[in-house]
């Protein structure tokens, strides 16, 4: 029996055979084919730009302008890459990005899991306030911090140095949030057991709880790596010497025509392609984890 509303009165009607059930096999198959067709077209739109990027980096300047769509260069040339590695500071940029990313990732994993554990498990005065502040900080839009971060780095004296590039990135509020949520899901009994056996707080954290947190830690590693490798605005305000330029800042300057005037697309696209490789590799290796993170993030 179904109840449908007609005006203010309720009308009871007998059930009609629902349309969906009457779909024949043929219709369902066509539905699936259409679905896949749409998906494939969309996937193509999403993937094609990257294929074109790699292909164009092997073309000559003239061909890139004349025939942008083709994926196979008529004249395959390494010229863009040669130019990139010999006439610019690209290797230096790569090294700087690598240094910063590795330091930040290691640091973040350590500090964020420490703080997450403390907020989840340890009882101390002001715990709730600290957690509230961490959440509040997540809400601050980055734009407000552009100018003042520069001012603070200046005042402290670490402007234009590796310390200035790395220190502010060492902690990430979202990471604390993720680790806290994860630690709360670990049964307390394991820790209680360890304490009964006489382990101190840090020992419990380091040897017992942390190894169990591998999935969350891997998530933090991926997010930190990606975040610091792709970071740009922080490096704009924290450095000025050419020796400290990272990949993001360097490629951004390439885009505005630093190396030579004129639009040299193969060169710029080669730089962008190489820049994407490390994050892409991380992504493909750890895909499954990334896909699962978001499910975890929803269980608030």
């Amino acid at each position: 029996m179904t109840v449908t509303a007609v005006g203010d009165t309720a009308v009871v009607t007998e059930p009609r055979a629902p349309r969906a059930v009457r779909t024949g096999r043929a219709t369902r198959i066509w539905g699936q084919v259409l679905l896949y067709a749409v998906l494939i077209v969309l996937a193509l739109i999403y993937i094609y730009p990257f294929l074109v990027q790699v292909a164009t980096s092997f073309k000559t300047d003239a061909e890139a302008a004349a025939d942008p769509i083709s994926l196979i260069p008529t004249v395959f040339t390494w010229a863009a890459y040669e130019l990139l590695f010999s006439r610019s500071d690209f290797p230096l940029w790569f090294m700087n990005s690598a240094i910063v990313t590795i330091c930040v990732t290691l640091g973040r994993v350590f500090f964020v899991s420490l703080a997450g554990y403390a907020l989840a498990r340890l009882r101390f005065r002001g715990r709730a306030l600290i957690f509230a502040l961490v959440i509040a900080v997540m809400a601050v839009p980055g734009v407000v911090l552009l100018i003042p971060k520069f001012l603070v780095l200046n005042q402290i004296g670490i402007y234009d140095s590796y310390a200035g590039m790395i220190l502010p990135l060492l902690v990430d509020a979202a990471g604390v949030f993720i680790m806290k949520n994860f630690f709360e899901s670990i049964p307390v009994s394991i820790e209680e057991q360890a304490r009964i056996d006489g382990a101190g707080t840090f020992r419990v954290f380091w040897s017992i709880v942390l190894p169990m947190a591998r999935p969350a830690l891997i998530t933090i590693i991926i997010l930190s790596f990606q975040g610091s490798w792709n970071e740009l605005s922080h490096f704009i305000v924290s450095t000025q010497s050419p020796e400290l330029t990272t990949l993001t800042k360097g490629v951004a300057s390439l885009a505005s025509g630093q190396l030579s005037q004129g639009s040299q697309y193969p060169l710029k696209l080669a730089a962008a392609a190489i820049m994407t490789i490390p994050v892409a590799v991380m992504f493909f290796i750890f895909q499954k984890r990334i896909m699962n993170t978001t499910q975890g993030a929803l269980k608030e």
């Binding site: 998906l39 969309l42 703080a115 502040l133 839009p141 954290f205 740009l232 696209l269 962008a272």
Partner: protein, 365 residues
């Protein structure tokens, strides 16, 4: 009858298994507090001070020679009547159109992709998820460089458009507003006097309704391209949690697929929708890196965003007070919209009239 009330043992600090916990707790969160405090909290306070002062860029902003000037910087940017106000007005117009169009589009696209991918029965699902999510992994610099290439005058997009006979514009160099182009197509080429003469923040109303420029439109496409993947993942996870029973009940009652989606599935996605919209709003209002890498505000200032204007005012024109003021105004705007959005999407109790409709005649509600 007496009951014995046992007091729970005090667990703080001194005794038993949890000794030293308080100190350890503080020690563990100390790095986070120090770094967040130093590089997030204090900078915000310092910026607030600079926005209320006349610091000119030399020496420390906290030195004694820097004076408090009240709301002067804010006034210069909102009511000053000069170029500062006009630039701010232009940047607000640009970003308002950007957010207005990007947030719904990227949310809808992400939801659409999520629904499609969730329906795919075979193993292709993993491949499609990867394909749609990959752009979100790349850095904004790399994507901007790629986009500058794709949308150049002789680029991929214009070539594809030429296959269907459309002569594509010089995307990143075209300052015409897309709505102005639309108006032009129906014959309205210049401002009607009512709209042309008066304005807000130094921009005439005619220019306010110009819509995003062609260049900004290209950036919008880029934003949708890179963020739809992340939000798609959120929606996929949420869709997996949607109960099947409700959908089947709907099917039993004769609801079509679209009705089922709109009235059953979508309401259950409300929390995720809220998250996606909030993240989209917060991200959209703050566009900076793409502009810095790509067009630096051009052509004709139509890709100028408040965040980039703040950077430009401070780092290039040495107007640190105004730059900070612009940043804080933007902050307030973001908070405002996040709150509005929260209010709009709040859970509302079903009205009595509505509830009455679902009762069988004769029965009490």
């Amino acid at each position: 009858m007496t009951t014995q009330v046992s007091k729970a043992p005090r667990r703080t600090g001194a005794s038993g298994l949890r000794r030293g916990e308080g100190a350890a707790g503080w020690l563990f969160v100390a790095p986070v507090i120090i770094i967040l405090g130093l590089f997030l909290f204090i900078p915000v306070l310092m910026a607030l001070w600079v926005s209320f002062s006349d610091w000119n860029g030399r020496g420390s902003p906290l030195s004694s020679s820097v004076d408090f000037v009240g709301l002067e910087n804010y006034a210069a940017v909102t009511t000053g009547g000069g170029l500062a106000e006009r630039n701010f007005g232009i940047s607000l117009r640009n970003i308002a159109w950007y957010v207005l169009l990007v947030v719904p589009l990227q949310t809808a696209l992400a939801l659409f992709l999520a629904v499609l991918v969730s329906r795919a029965v075979l193993r292709g699902r993993g491949f499609f998820r990867t394909a749609f999510y990959f752009p979100s992994v790349t850095s904004s610099v790399a994507i901007t460089v790629l986009w500058l290439f794709l949308f150049s005058t002789t680029g991929v997009v214009n070539e594809v458009l030429s296959w269907v006979g459309i002569n594509g514009p010089n995307w990143f160099n075209d300052p015409r507003g897309i709505f102005h182009i639309g108006f032009g197509a129906v014959g309205v080429d210049s401002a009607p006097t009512a709209l042309g003469d008066s304005g807000f923040l130094g921009i005439s109303w005619w220019d306010w309704i110009a819509g995003p420029s062609v260049a900004l439109f290209a950036f919008m496409l880029m934003a949708i391209f890179t963020t739809s993947g992340t939000f798609m993942l959120l929606f996929i996870a949420a869709l997996q949690n949607v109960g099947i029973e409700l959908g089947e009940a709907g099917m039993m009652d004769g609801a079509s697929a679209w009705q089922r989606f709109w009235h059953i599935t979508l309401p259950q996605l409300r929390p995720t929708l809220f998250t996606v919209l909030t993240l989209g709003l917060i991200g959209g209002w703050q566009v900076f890196e793409q502009i810095y890498t790509g067009t630096q505000g051009g052509p004709a200032k139509t890709t100028l965003t408040p965040a980039y204007l703040s950077y430009q005012a401070a780092f290039q024109n040495q107007d640190w007070g105004q730059g900070s003021a612009i940043a804080f105004i933007l902050f307030l705007i973001i908070i405002f919209f996040a709150l509005v959005q929260r209010w709009v999407l709040r859970e509302r109790p079903v009205s009595r009239r509505r509830a009455a409709q679902y009762q069988v005649k004769g029965q009490k509600p």
